[in-house]
Homo-oligomer: 148 residues x 2
Amino acid sequence: MPDTSRFSALLTAKGLRLTRQREAVVDAILQAKGSFTAQELHDMLRASRSGVGLTTVYRTLEILSEGGAVERVHGLNHCEAFVVAGKHHSHTIVCSNCGSASELVDCGCDELVAAAARQTGFRIEDHVIQLRGLCRACARKHREPVGV
Amino acid sequence: MPDTSRFSALLTAKGLRLTRQREAVVDAILQAKGSFTAQELHDMLRASRSGVGLTTVYRTLEILSEGGAVERVHGLNHCEAFVVAGKHHSHTIVCSNCGSASELVDCGCDELVAAAARQTGFRIEDHVIQLRGLCRACARKHREPVGV
DNA sequence: GTGCGTGCAAATTCTTTGCAATGCA
DNA sequence: TGCATTGCAAAGAATTTGCACGCAC
């Protein structure tokens, strides 16, 4: 399982301890295909009787987010959730119906960033590119009139 | 003042009333060059003794945001603030030092969105492209060693 | 054994809501 | 005048912090 070890490597590289709780959080993250909130992870952990506190979920997400292993996703109006970050530079697309996430590679964002720098004179430090829509499966369902 | 009338047109088009408080909020928004939070607007309004409640600021921002006159901006880690939206489709770049905002036109995001749709099969509904960096003035200052 | 990590509960921050009074159209 | 709008205060949601105990190293 390369993903799990990727997470634990992140912890040890920072001189942090690998605890039962952190492993449980990482497991939950890997099981939550797609996006997830701290609250959702906490629910999953409670369901699997792992007894990890919400505080720990928040703190672990903070660590993983600093280390670049997960990233926050944003909707048009709200901060929404986290996703597992790609291994290389990428952006995320999240299904607004089921929450599943896909990764975007070769998105052409470098050109976009360069153009923006040229246009505005800004020294650009980072960028958030966040797409939202319906995944293939949900788009199919929505084509049929579902009511309400 | 085309900007002010643009805001009031938005209200009347929705059948909403043009009140002293909403005008004050719009004034504050236009004075706040760059990005601003509801709290900051409220502070500005209190400073200019306009006596507009925080609740009203939130509600007015909600209306303007729905009407597309302002939009929310996102940092890498947090929902941050609002900015005045462009008159046409555009994206925003915000200075991480002073909060000033520039608008980006011809950003090439259509191609990006199309490529993403092709790659993932998603039916893309909307996208958030948010850039952050140092504006020209702040970049200059930061070049000199400022300490801490 | 040491000190990081944990979990509870309380604190904090941000935002929304209920309701009576106000004022725009 | 009628009804949208306001503002207070209180509720609510999300997240952070303080502190005593437990466990990884």
